[in-house]
Symmetry: C2
Subunit: 131 residues, 2 copies
């Protein structure tokens, strides 16, 4: 698979998970819109412009998952977004859903998607360690 195809796949996957990605970034710290755009690019290696990110931010704000405040400490006022309690709860739910989806994909032979939760599920390992 060439580099261009890999980029296309990544872009499509991150787009599909973009709500989760934005909520995840805001869980770490409050960000203004442009900060979210650059943070997605820096952390996930794909670029989504204002025409994708701003409508998503309004949608999330309308749903009550994030809220915004004007930051007037700079020359140009800008909206700073933060996660609400509802957004935190949504993020936890989405994280659990993604975990379940990856676990199921793993059962379908995607060996790379093997989560590190094996210890509790493997009593024989525990008993060996306690010997």
């Amino acid at each position: 698979m060439n580099h261009q195809t890999i980029k296309k796949v990544e872009l499509k996957l991150v787009r599909g998970l973009l709500d989760l990605v934005v909520l995840g970034l805001l869980k770490e710290k409050d960000l203004h819109g442009y900060g979210i755009i650059t943070s997605i690019r820096r952390n996930f290696g794909v670029y989504f412009g204002p025409s994708t990110v701003y409508p998503l931010l309004s949608e999330l704000e309308k749903a009550g998952d994030i809220k915004s405040e004007w930051d007037l400490t700079h020359d140009r006022p800008r909206k700073v977004y933060s996660l609400t309690a509802e957004g935190k709860s949504l993020l936890t739910g989405a994280e659990e859903s993604l975990y379940q989806i990856c676990t199921r994909l793993n059962e379908f032979g995607m060996n790379r998607l093997q989560f590190n939760n094996g210890v509790e599920d493997k009593p024989e390992v525990n008993s060996m360690l306690s010997m």
Copy 2:
């Protein structure tokens, strides 16, 4: 978060990963369209109807990632889909991308998305085990 919201989140996530899900199902075995629809519902707990799944199948076929053949052994002929070599390669790439995305989300505090690849990365654990 109520049950309805959880379902909505799951639906959105699976929709975002639907190419990957369909390719993953076809990696395990060849399926006709209706078989894919029921398999998604059974394995991922969300329903996508023909109006979502069939256009996706034509798109994947047009891109050369899957191919179809008429199965004439039943009363009603039906198209059976299988993965091509390109599709297998795309699936491996997508699996790797999803792995990278989850790993990054894990670094952003999503503790549930911790992959089971820790042993090679933690030589101190290895050396303890070999003592």
